[in-house]
Protein backbone atom coordinates (compact mmCIF):
# COMPACT_ATOMS: atom_id res chain seq x y z
CA UNK A 1 0.00 0.00 0.00
CA UNK A 2 1.47 3.35 -0.99
CA UNK A 3 0.44 6.80 0.07
CA UNK A 4 1.46 9.97 -1.80
CA UNK A 5 3.04 12.32 0.68
CA UNK A 6 4.38 15.02 -1.52
CA UNK A 7 4.16 16.26 -5.05
CA UNK A 8 7.46 18.05 -5.33
CA UNK A 9 8.70 20.17 -8.17
CA UNK A 10 10.78 17.27 -9.40
CA UNK A 11 8.93 14.12 -8.47
CA UNK A 12 6.07 12.46 -6.73
CA UNK A 13 7.03 11.04 -3.36
CA UNK A 14 5.04 8.22 -1.79
CA UNK A 15 5.41 6.18 1.36
CA UNK A 16 4.86 2.48 1.58
CA UNK A 17 6.60 -0.80 2.18
CA UNK A 18 9.34 -2.39 0.18
CA UNK A 19 10.53 -5.91 1.00
CA UNK A 20 8.98 -5.66 4.40
CA UNK A 21 10.40 -2.34 5.50
CA UNK A 22 9.13 1.22 5.52
CA UNK A 23 10.19 2.90 2.33
CA UNK A 24 9.90 6.09 0.32
CA UNK A 25 9.19 5.85 -3.41
CA UNK A 26 10.44 8.72 -5.49
CA UNK A 27 8.96 8.72 -8.96
CA UNK A 28 9.94 11.34 -11.48
CA UNK A 29 6.81 12.22 -13.38
CA UNK A 30 6.64 13.17 -16.98
CA UNK A 31 6.28 16.94 -17.20
CA UNK A 32 3.53 17.97 -19.62
CA UNK A 33 5.40 21.17 -20.42
CA UNK A 34 8.46 19.37 -21.84
CA UNK A 35 8.67 17.60 -25.21
CA UNK A 36 8.88 13.83 -24.80
CA UNK A 37 12.50 13.38 -25.92
CA UNK A 38 13.81 16.10 -23.63
CA UNK A 39 11.68 14.81 -20.78
CA UNK A 40 12.91 11.20 -21.08
CA UNK A 41 16.47 12.31 -21.30
CA UNK A 42 16.17 14.46 -18.17
CA UNK A 43 14.26 11.83 -16.18
CA UNK A 44 16.55 8.89 -16.79
CA UNK A 45 19.73 10.92 -16.53
CA UNK A 46 18.71 12.49 -13.24
CA UNK A 47 17.40 9.23 -11.74
CA UNK A 48 20.57 7.29 -12.44
CA UNK A 49 22.82 10.11 -11.30
CA UNK A 50 20.84 10.63 -8.11
CA UNK A 51 21.00 6.96 -7.13
CA UNK A 52 24.69 6.72 -7.86
CA UNK A 53 25.55 9.79 -5.83
CA UNK A 54 23.31 8.82 -2.91
CA UNK A 55 24.98 5.42 -2.68
CA UNK A 56 28.44 6.99 -2.73
CA UNK A 57 27.61 9.65 -0.13
CA UNK A 58 26.08 7.12 2.21
CA UNK A 59 29.12 4.87 1.94
CA UNK A 60 31.34 7.83 2.84
CA UNK A 61 29.33 8.71 5.93
CA UNK A 62 27.04 11.53 4.77
CA UNK A 63 23.48 11.31 6.06
CA UNK A 64 21.33 10.43 3.07
CA UNK A 65 18.62 7.75 2.93
CA UNK A 66 19.73 4.19 2.07
CA UNK A 67 18.80 3.11 -1.47
CA UNK A 68 16.72 -0.05 -1.85
CA UNK A 69 15.88 -0.14 -5.56
CA UNK A 70 16.45 1.91 -8.73
CA UNK A 71 14.90 1.98 -12.21
CA UNK A 72 16.17 4.90 -14.32
CA UNK A 73 13.88 4.30 -17.32
CA UNK A 74 10.80 4.58 -15.14
CA UNK A 75 12.41 7.33 -13.09
CA UNK A 76 11.95 5.37 -9.87
CA UNK A 77 14.11 5.26 -6.77
CA UNK A 78 13.03 3.36 -3.66
CA UNK A 79 14.82 4.38 -0.46
CA UNK A 80 14.49 3.79 3.22
CA UNK A 81 12.24 6.14 5.16
CA UNK A 82 13.86 8.66 7.51
CA UNK A 83 11.54 9.40 10.42
CA UNK A 84 11.46 13.11 11.17
CA UNK A 85 10.30 16.59 10.09
CA UNK A 86 11.17 18.60 6.99
CA UNK A 87 13.71 21.22 8.07
CA UNK A 88 11.73 24.11 6.58
CA UNK A 89 8.75 23.25 8.80
CA UNK A 90 10.95 22.53 11.81
CA UNK A 91 12.59 25.96 11.57
CA UNK A 92 9.16 27.54 11.74
CA UNK A 93 8.35 26.03 15.12
CA UNK A 94 11.67 25.39 16.87
CA UNK A 95 13.06 27.76 19.50
CA UNK A 96 16.07 29.85 18.47
CA UNK A 97 18.54 27.53 20.13
CA UNK A 98 17.10 24.35 18.68
CA UNK A 99 16.75 25.92 15.26
CA UNK A 100 20.42 26.89 15.48
CA UNK A 101 21.39 23.33 16.41
CA UNK A 102 19.40 21.97 13.46
CA UNK A 103 21.09 24.44 11.11
CA UNK A 104 24.48 23.47 12.54
CA UNK A 105 23.71 19.81 11.79
CA UNK A 106 22.62 20.86 8.32
CA UNK A 107 25.90 22.75 7.87
CA UNK A 108 27.85 19.69 8.96
CA UNK A 109 26.13 17.41 6.42
CA UNK A 110 26.40 19.89 3.56
CA UNK A 111 30.03 20.44 4.51
CA UNK A 112 30.72 16.70 4.49
CA UNK A 113 29.07 16.40 1.08
CA UNK A 114 31.07 19.32 -0.31
CA UNK A 115 34.28 17.88 1.11
CA UNK A 116 33.64 14.82 -1.06
CA UNK A 117 33.38 17.11 -4.07
CA UNK A 118 29.63 16.79 -4.48
CA UNK A 119 27.39 19.78 -5.12
CA UNK A 120 23.72 19.25 -4.30
CA UNK A 121 22.28 21.55 -6.96
CA UNK A 122 19.05 22.32 -5.11
CA UNK A 123 19.91 22.75 -1.49
CA UNK A 124 16.87 24.21 0.25
CA UNK A 125 15.37 23.76 3.70
CA UNK A 126 12.65 21.69 2.02
CA UNK A 127 15.25 19.16 0.95
CA UNK A 128 16.50 18.29 4.41
CA UNK A 129 14.88 16.27 7.17
CA UNK A 130 15.46 16.72 10.88
CA UNK A 131 15.34 13.12 12.09
CA UNK A 132 13.85 11.95 15.36
CA UNK A 133 17.44 11.53 16.58
CA UNK A 134 18.10 15.24 15.84
CA UNK A 135 20.43 14.59 12.95
CA UNK A 136 19.91 16.03 9.49
CA UNK A 137 19.41 13.92 6.40
CA UNK A 138 19.89 15.44 2.99
CA UNK A 139 17.21 14.56 0.46
CA UNK A 140 16.55 15.08 -3.21
CA UNK A 141 19.95 14.69 -4.79
CA UNK A 142 18.41 14.78 -8.24
CA UNK A 143 20.58 17.66 -9.36
CA UNK A 144 23.67 16.60 -7.40
CA UNK A 145 26.94 16.16 -9.22
CA UNK A 146 30.65 15.64 -8.76
CA UNK A 147 32.49 18.86 -9.30
CA UNK A 148 36.13 19.74 -9.78
CA UNK A 149 35.79 23.44 -9.19
CA UNK A 150 34.40 25.25 -6.14
CA UNK A 151 31.94 27.11 -8.38
CA UNK A 152 29.07 24.69 -7.91
CA UNK A 153 29.73 24.34 -4.20
CA UNK A 154 29.47 28.11 -3.96
CA UNK A 155 26.25 28.02 -6.00
CA UNK A 156 24.85 25.63 -3.37
CA UNK A 157 25.55 28.11 -0.60
CA UNK A 158 24.30 30.98 -2.74
CA UNK A 159 20.99 29.14 -3.19
CA UNK A 160 20.73 28.33 0.46
CA UNK A 161 21.22 31.97 1.40
CA UNK A 162 18.54 32.88 -1.12
CA UNK A 163 16.15 30.37 0.41
CA UNK A 164 16.82 31.77 3.86
CA UNK A 165 16.10 35.23 2.47
CA UNK A 166 12.86 34.22 0.80
CA UNK A 167 11.43 31.62 3.23
CA UNK A 168 12.97 32.47 6.59
CA UNK A 169 13.79 36.15 6.09
CA UNK A 170 13.11 37.18 9.69
CA UNK A 171 15.82 34.98 11.20
CA UNK A 172 18.08 34.62 8.20
CA UNK A 173 21.26 36.03 9.75
CA UNK A 174 21.19 33.86 12.87
CA UNK A 175 20.36 30.66 11.02
CA UNK A 176 23.06 31.33 8.49
CA UNK A 177 25.67 31.83 11.20
CA UNK A 178 24.79 28.50 12.84
CA UNK A 179 25.02 26.79 9.46
CA UNK A 180 28.28 28.42 8.42
CA UNK A 181 30.10 27.74 11.67
CA UNK A 182 29.78 23.98 11.41
CA UNK A 183 30.16 24.03 7.63
CA UNK A 184 33.51 25.79 8.02
CA UNK A 185 34.72 23.33 10.65
CA UNK A 186 34.00 20.40 8.33
CA UNK A 187 35.39 21.69 5.04
CA UNK A 188 38.34 23.50 6.64
CA UNK A 189 38.94 27.21 7.18
CA UNK A 190 40.95 27.87 4.02
CA UNK A 191 38.65 25.98 1.68
CA UNK A 192 35.61 27.58 3.31
CA UNK A 193 37.08 31.05 2.81
CA UNK A 194 37.64 30.34 -0.88
CA UNK A 195 34.07 29.11 -1.23
CA UNK A 196 32.60 32.10 0.63
CA UNK A 197 34.56 34.47 -1.59
CA UNK A 198 33.09 32.74 -4.63
CA UNK A 199 29.60 33.05 -3.13
CA UNK A 200 30.08 36.80 -2.87
CA UNK A 201 31.24 36.83 -6.48
CA UNK A 202 28.21 34.86 -7.67
CA UNK A 203 25.92 37.26 -5.87
CA UNK A 204 27.53 40.07 -7.79
CA UNK A 205 26.73 38.34 -11.07
CA UNK A 206 23.00 38.65 -10.43
CA UNK A 207 21.13 41.32 -12.33
CA UNK A 208 21.36 44.93 -11.20
CA UNK A 209 23.57 44.51 -8.14
CA UNK A 210 24.31 47.93 -6.73
CA UNK A 211 27.68 47.03 -5.23
CA UNK A 212 28.95 45.97 -8.62
CA UNK A 213 30.90 48.70 -10.36
CA UNK A 214 29.62 49.97 -13.64
CA UNK A 215 32.10 48.95 -16.31
CA UNK A 216 34.59 51.67 -17.08
CA UNK A 217 34.33 53.37 -20.45
CA UNK A 218 37.70 53.74 -22.14
Amino acid sequence: MQRVIYLGAEALVAEGEFLGRKAVFKLRLRKPYRVLELDREIVSRRTAAEARIMAMLRERGVNVPRILFVDPLYGLIVMEKVEGVVLRDALGVLSGEKACRAMAEFGREVGAMHKLGVAHGDITTSNAVLSNEDSIYILDLGLAKHVEDIEDLAVDLHLLIRVLESSHYAVKEDLLKCFMRSYRSVVGVDEARKIFERVAEIRMRGRYIEERKVRKVN
Binding site: G8, A9, K31, P32, L143, S167, G206, R207, E210, R212
Partner: protein, 329 residues
Protein backbone atom coordinates in the same frame (compact mmCIF):
# COMPACT_ATOMS: atom_id res chain seq x y z
CA UNK B 1 -9.68 61.37 -6.94
CA UNK B 2 -5.93 61.22 -7.48
CA UNK B 3 -4.50 61.37 -10.98
CA UNK B 4 -0.95 60.22 -11.67
CA UNK B 5 1.13 60.73 -14.80
CA UNK B 6 3.84 58.09 -15.24
CA UNK B 7 6.97 58.29 -17.37
CA UNK B 8 8.68 55.15 -18.69
CA UNK B 9 12.00 55.27 -20.54
CA UNK B 10 14.13 52.38 -19.28
CA UNK B 11 14.98 50.72 -22.60
CA UNK B 12 13.36 50.90 -26.05
CA UNK B 13 10.03 52.47 -25.11
CA UNK B 14 9.33 56.04 -24.15
CA UNK B 15 5.85 55.96 -22.69
CA UNK B 16 3.54 58.21 -20.75
CA UNK B 17 0.51 56.85 -18.99
CA UNK B 18 -2.14 58.59 -16.93
CA UNK B 19 -4.23 56.72 -14.37
CA UNK B 20 -6.77 57.60 -11.72
CA UNK B 21 -7.25 55.73 -8.47
CA UNK B 22 -10.66 54.29 -9.39
CA UNK B 23 -8.58 52.54 -10.85
CA UNK B 24 -8.81 53.63 -14.45
CA UNK B 25 -6.40 54.05 -17.31
CA UNK B 26 -6.96 57.54 -18.72
CA UNK B 27 -4.14 57.65 -21.24
CA UNK B 28 -1.48 55.42 -22.71
CA UNK B 29 0.89 57.01 -25.17
CA UNK B 30 4.10 55.39 -26.41
CA UNK B 31 7.01 55.79 -28.73
CA UNK B 32 9.07 52.71 -29.61
CA UNK B 33 12.68 52.88 -30.72
CA UNK B 34 13.38 50.19 -33.31
CA UNK B 35 17.06 49.67 -34.19
CA UNK B 36 17.81 49.46 -37.91
CA UNK B 37 20.07 46.51 -37.18
CA UNK B 38 21.59 44.80 -34.16
CA UNK B 39 20.24 45.38 -30.67
CA UNK B 40 19.37 48.56 -28.75
CA UNK B 41 21.96 51.30 -29.09
CA UNK B 42 21.40 53.21 -25.83
CA UNK B 43 22.43 56.64 -27.08
CA UNK B 44 20.46 56.36 -30.32
CA UNK B 45 17.45 55.22 -28.31
CA UNK B 46 17.85 58.18 -25.95
CA UNK B 47 18.17 60.62 -28.87
CA UNK B 48 14.98 59.30 -30.40
CA UNK B 49 13.23 59.63 -27.03
CA UNK B 50 14.27 63.29 -26.77
CA UNK B 51 12.86 63.99 -30.24
CA UNK B 52 9.57 62.23 -29.58
CA UNK B 53 8.91 62.94 -25.91
CA UNK B 54 6.97 66.21 -26.38
CA UNK B 55 4.47 64.65 -28.77
CA UNK B 56 4.07 61.56 -26.55
CA UNK B 57 3.29 63.86 -23.60
CA UNK B 58 0.85 65.99 -25.62
CA UNK B 59 -0.83 62.85 -26.95
CA UNK B 60 -1.25 61.42 -23.42
CA UNK B 61 -2.84 64.61 -22.11
CA UNK B 62 -5.16 64.82 -25.08
CA UNK B 63 -6.22 61.16 -24.71
CA UNK B 64 -7.07 61.84 -21.08
CA UNK B 65 -8.75 65.13 -21.99
CA UNK B 66 -6.78 66.79 -19.23
CA UNK B 67 -4.47 69.74 -18.90
CA UNK B 68 -1.27 69.29 -16.97
CA UNK B 69 -2.84 71.24 -14.08
CA UNK B 70 -5.23 68.34 -13.38
CA UNK B 71 -2.32 65.96 -12.77
CA UNK B 72 -1.73 65.41 -9.04
CA UNK B 73 1.49 63.39 -9.09
CA UNK B 74 4.31 62.71 -11.53
CA UNK B 75 5.79 59.21 -11.33
CA UNK B 76 8.97 58.15 -13.09
CA UNK B 77 10.83 54.90 -13.64
CA UNK B 78 14.30 55.62 -12.25
CA UNK B 79 15.62 52.10 -12.95
CA UNK B 80 16.69 49.47 -13.61
CA UNK B 81 17.56 50.11 -17.21
CA UNK B 82 19.89 51.75 -19.70
CA UNK B 83 21.46 54.96 -18.38
CA UNK B 84 21.03 57.25 -21.40
CA UNK B 85 17.40 56.15 -21.83
CA UNK B 86 16.57 56.48 -18.14
CA UNK B 87 17.99 59.99 -18.02
CA UNK B 88 15.56 61.25 -20.67
CA UNK B 89 12.54 60.15 -18.63
CA UNK B 90 14.05 61.36 -15.37
CA UNK B 91 14.84 64.80 -16.83
CA UNK B 92 11.33 65.23 -18.19
CA UNK B 93 9.71 64.04 -14.96
CA UNK B 94 11.86 66.34 -12.82
CA UNK B 95 11.07 69.27 -15.10
CA UNK B 96 7.32 68.61 -14.93
CA UNK B 97 7.51 68.22 -11.17
CA UNK B 98 9.44 71.45 -10.61
CA UNK B 99 7.78 73.65 -13.24
CA UNK B 100 4.20 72.67 -12.33
CA UNK B 101 4.87 72.07 -8.60
CA UNK B 102 3.74 68.44 -8.62
CA UNK B 103 5.02 65.83 -6.17
CA UNK B 104 7.43 63.36 -7.76
CA UNK B 105 7.33 59.62 -7.02
CA UNK B 106 10.16 57.22 -7.91
CA UNK B 107 9.11 53.89 -9.39
CA UNK B 108 11.10 50.70 -9.89
CA UNK B 109 10.43 49.41 -13.40
CA UNK B 110 10.38 45.75 -12.28
CA UNK B 111 7.87 46.43 -9.50
CA UNK B 112 5.74 48.28 -12.07
CA UNK B 113 5.64 45.26 -14.40
CA UNK B 114 4.34 43.17 -11.50
CA UNK B 115 1.84 45.72 -10.20
CA UNK B 116 0.22 46.34 -13.59
CA UNK B 117 -0.13 42.55 -13.88
CA UNK B 118 -1.84 42.38 -10.51
CA UNK B 119 -4.08 45.33 -11.36
CA UNK B 120 -5.24 43.87 -14.68
CA UNK B 121 -5.73 40.26 -13.53
CA UNK B 122 -7.36 38.64 -10.52
CA UNK B 123 -4.05 37.42 -9.13
CA UNK B 124 -3.91 38.07 -5.39
CA UNK B 125 -0.76 36.51 -3.99
CA UNK B 126 1.01 34.96 -6.97
CA UNK B 127 4.38 33.52 -7.72
CA UNK B 128 5.49 36.10 -10.28
CA UNK B 129 7.49 35.16 -13.35
CA UNK B 130 8.93 38.37 -14.77
CA UNK B 131 10.45 37.76 -18.17
CA UNK B 132 11.63 40.37 -20.62
CA UNK B 133 14.61 41.42 -22.68
CA UNK B 134 16.54 42.42 -19.59
CA UNK B 135 14.99 40.35 -16.82
CA UNK B 136 14.27 36.74 -15.92
CA UNK B 137 13.10 36.65 -12.34
CA UNK B 138 10.93 34.34 -10.27
CA UNK B 139 9.65 36.31 -7.32
CA UNK B 140 6.93 36.52 -4.71
CA UNK B 141 5.96 39.08 -2.11
CA UNK B 142 7.08 37.99 1.34
CA UNK B 143 7.52 40.28 4.31
CA UNK B 144 7.14 43.59 2.52
CA UNK B 145 9.44 42.96 -0.43
CA UNK B 146 9.35 41.08 -3.70
CA UNK B 147 11.88 38.42 -2.75
CA UNK B 148 13.88 36.95 -5.60
CA UNK B 149 13.44 33.19 -5.56
CA UNK B 150 15.27 32.47 -8.78
CA UNK B 151 16.76 34.38 -11.67
CA UNK B 152 19.02 33.99 -14.64
CA UNK B 153 22.68 33.67 -13.79
CA UNK B 154 23.72 35.30 -17.05
CA UNK B 155 21.57 36.69 -19.87
CA UNK B 156 17.81 37.28 -19.69
CA UNK B 157 15.37 35.04 -21.56
CA UNK B 158 14.30 37.80 -24.00
CA UNK B 159 17.91 38.72 -24.57
CA UNK B 160 18.66 35.06 -25.34
CA UNK B 161 15.80 34.83 -27.84
CA UNK B 162 16.79 38.06 -29.56
CA UNK B 163 20.47 37.17 -29.72
CA UNK B 164 19.74 33.73 -31.16
CA UNK B 165 17.55 34.92 -34.03
CA UNK B 166 19.88 37.82 -34.69
CA UNK B 167 22.88 35.50 -34.99
CA UNK B 168 20.84 33.16 -37.20
CA UNK B 169 20.23 36.14 -39.49
CA UNK B 170 16.47 36.20 -38.88
CA UNK B 171 16.19 39.55 -37.07
CA UNK B 172 15.67 42.44 -36.54
CA UNK B 173 12.74 42.96 -36.51
CA UNK B 174 12.42 40.61 -33.53
CA UNK B 175 8.67 40.67 -33.08
CA UNK B 176 6.26 40.94 -36.00
CA UNK B 177 2.50 40.86 -35.47
CA UNK B 178 3.04 39.92 -31.82
CA UNK B 179 5.05 36.83 -32.75
CA UNK B 180 8.74 36.56 -31.98
CA UNK B 181 11.09 35.43 -34.72
CA UNK B 182 12.08 32.39 -32.63
CA UNK B 183 8.46 31.18 -32.77
CA UNK B 184 8.29 31.67 -36.52
CA UNK B 185 11.49 29.77 -37.21
CA UNK B 186 10.53 26.95 -34.78
CA UNK B 187 7.73 25.77 -37.05
CA UNK B 188 8.36 22.25 -38.32
CA UNK B 189 11.38 21.92 -36.05
CA UNK B 190 12.37 18.69 -34.33
CA UNK B 191 14.10 18.27 -31.02
CA UNK B 192 17.88 17.97 -31.03
CA UNK B 193 19.84 17.76 -27.81
CA UNK B 194 21.09 21.04 -26.37
CA UNK B 195 22.42 21.77 -22.87
CA UNK B 196 19.59 22.09 -20.36
CA UNK B 197 20.81 24.11 -17.40
CA UNK B 198 18.96 24.48 -14.12
CA UNK B 199 21.12 25.38 -11.17
CA UNK B 200 18.80 24.95 -8.24
CA UNK B 201 16.35 27.81 -8.66
CA UNK B 202 18.32 29.64 -11.28
CA UNK B 203 18.45 29.37 -15.04
CA UNK B 204 21.27 30.15 -17.42
CA UNK B 205 21.04 30.82 -21.14
CA UNK B 206 24.46 31.89 -22.35
CA UNK B 207 25.78 28.32 -22.68
CA UNK B 208 22.62 27.33 -24.52
CA UNK B 209 23.07 30.22 -26.93
CA UNK B 210 26.66 29.21 -27.68
CA UNK B 211 25.73 25.53 -28.13
CA UNK B 212 22.77 26.36 -30.37
CA UNK B 213 24.90 28.52 -32.65
CA UNK B 214 27.62 25.87 -32.74
CA UNK B 215 25.03 23.27 -33.75
CA UNK B 216 23.81 25.64 -36.47
CA UNK B 217 27.32 26.06 -37.86
CA UNK B 218 27.79 22.30 -37.87
CA UNK B 219 24.81 21.96 -40.21
CA UNK B 220 21.78 21.28 -38.01
CA UNK B 221 18.62 22.65 -39.66
CA UNK B 222 17.66 26.14 -38.55
CA UNK B 223 14.11 25.14 -37.59
CA UNK B 224 15.50 22.35 -35.39
CA UNK B 225 17.83 24.85 -33.71
CA UNK B 226 15.02 27.34 -33.07
CA UNK B 227 12.61 24.68 -31.85
CA UNK B 228 15.09 22.97 -29.54
CA UNK B 229 16.67 26.13 -28.15
CA UNK B 230 13.22 27.53 -27.40
CA UNK B 231 12.13 24.23 -25.91
CA UNK B 232 15.12 24.00 -23.61
CA UNK B 233 15.04 27.68 -22.61
CA UNK B 234 11.30 27.71 -21.86
CA UNK B 235 11.27 24.31 -20.15
CA UNK B 236 14.06 25.26 -17.78
CA UNK B 237 12.20 28.47 -16.87
CA UNK B 238 8.97 26.57 -16.24
CA UNK B 239 10.84 24.01 -14.16
CA UNK B 240 12.33 26.75 -12.00
CA UNK B 241 8.87 28.29 -11.60
CA UNK B 242 7.56 24.89 -10.54
CA UNK B 243 10.26 24.75 -7.89
CA UNK B 244 9.15 28.17 -6.68
CA UNK B 245 5.55 26.99 -6.37
CA UNK B 246 6.65 23.97 -4.35
CA UNK B 247 9.03 25.88 -2.10
CA UNK B 248 6.81 28.91 -1.43
CA UNK B 249 3.49 27.06 -1.44
CA UNK B 250 1.83 29.54 -3.84
CA UNK B 251 -1.38 28.66 -5.67
CA UNK B 252 -1.21 31.33 -8.37
CA UNK B 253 1.26 32.14 -11.12
CA UNK B 254 1.41 35.56 -12.74
CA UNK B 255 3.38 36.09 -15.94
CA UNK B 256 4.56 39.64 -16.59
CA UNK B 257 7.10 41.36 -18.83
CA UNK B 258 7.57 41.42 -22.59
CA UNK B 259 8.18 37.69 -23.06
CA UNK B 260 4.85 36.97 -21.30
CA UNK B 261 3.31 37.92 -24.65
CA UNK B 262 4.77 34.71 -26.16
CA UNK B 263 1.86 32.37 -26.81
CA UNK B 264 4.03 29.29 -26.85
CA UNK B 265 5.49 30.11 -23.43
CA UNK B 266 2.00 30.76 -22.07
CA UNK B 267 0.99 27.30 -23.33
CA UNK B 268 3.82 25.77 -21.34
CA UNK B 269 2.80 27.62 -18.21
CA UNK B 270 -0.81 26.53 -18.80
CA UNK B 271 0.40 22.94 -18.81
CA UNK B 272 2.25 23.55 -15.56
CA UNK B 273 -0.74 25.25 -13.92
CA UNK B 274 -3.07 22.42 -14.90
CA UNK B 275 -0.60 19.81 -13.75
CA UNK B 276 -0.11 21.40 -10.35
CA UNK B 277 -3.67 22.59 -9.94
CA UNK B 278 -2.83 26.28 -9.63
CA UNK B 279 -4.27 29.35 -11.34
CA UNK B 280 -2.38 30.99 -14.18
CA UNK B 281 -2.70 34.70 -14.85
CA UNK B 282 -1.04 36.45 -17.75
CA UNK B 283 -0.78 40.19 -18.10
CA UNK B 284 -2.55 41.31 -21.34
CA UNK B 285 0.00 41.59 -24.20
CA UNK B 286 -0.43 45.35 -24.47
CA UNK B 287 0.76 45.75 -20.89
CA UNK B 288 3.30 42.95 -20.98
CA UNK B 289 5.67 45.25 -22.82
CA UNK B 290 7.09 48.47 -21.38
CA UNK B 291 4.57 51.28 -20.99
CA UNK B 292 3.89 54.45 -19.03
CA UNK B 293 0.65 53.18 -17.52
CA UNK B 294 2.40 50.67 -15.28
CA UNK B 295 4.68 53.42 -13.98
CA UNK B 296 1.71 55.70 -13.33
CA UNK B 297 -0.19 52.92 -11.54
CA UNK B 298 2.75 51.90 -9.36
CA UNK B 299 3.43 55.58 -8.69
CA UNK B 300 -0.16 55.78 -7.48
CA UNK B 301 0.44 52.94 -5.02
CA UNK B 302 3.73 54.42 -3.85
CA UNK B 303 2.23 57.91 -3.50
CA UNK B 304 -0.69 56.61 -1.45
CA UNK B 305 1.84 55.22 1.00
CA UNK B 306 3.67 58.53 1.14
CA UNK B 307 6.61 57.75 -1.12
CA UNK B 308 7.85 60.87 -2.87
CA UNK B 309 11.27 62.18 -3.79
CA UNK B 310 12.73 65.67 -4.13
CA UNK B 311 13.53 66.34 -7.81
CA UNK B 312 17.19 67.08 -7.00
CA UNK B 313 17.47 63.56 -5.52
CA UNK B 314 15.68 61.84 -8.38
CA UNK B 315 18.75 60.39 -10.06
CA UNK B 316 18.56 57.29 -12.22
CA UNK B 317 19.60 53.91 -10.83
CA UNK B 318 20.70 51.61 -13.63
CA UNK B 319 21.00 48.69 -11.21
CA UNK B 320 18.02 49.05 -8.94
CA UNK B 321 17.10 45.58 -7.83
CA UNK B 322 13.51 44.48 -7.48
CA UNK B 323 14.13 43.17 -3.96
CA UNK B 324 15.55 46.51 -2.80
CA UNK B 325 12.13 48.19 -2.90
CA UNK B 326 9.84 48.28 0.14
CA UNK B 327 6.32 47.24 -0.82
CA UNK B 328 3.77 48.73 1.57
CA UNK B 329 0.56 47.41 0.04
Amino acid sequence: MVIVLGVESTAHTFGIGIVSDEPRILADSRFNYVPARGGIHPREAADSFIKNAPSVLREALSQAGLSIDSIDVVAVALGPGLGPCLRVGATIARALSIYYSKPLTPVNHAVAHIEIGRMLTDARDPLVVYISGGNTVITAKQGGRYRVFGETLDIALGNFMDALVRELGLAPPYVVGGIHAIDRCSEGGRYVELPYVVKGQDTSYSGLLTAALRAYRSGVRVEDICFSAREVAYSSLVEVAERGLAQLGKTEILLVGGVAASRYLVEKFKALAEYRGVELYVVPPRYAVDNGVMIAWTGMLMFKYGVTIEPENAVVKQRWRLDAVDIYW
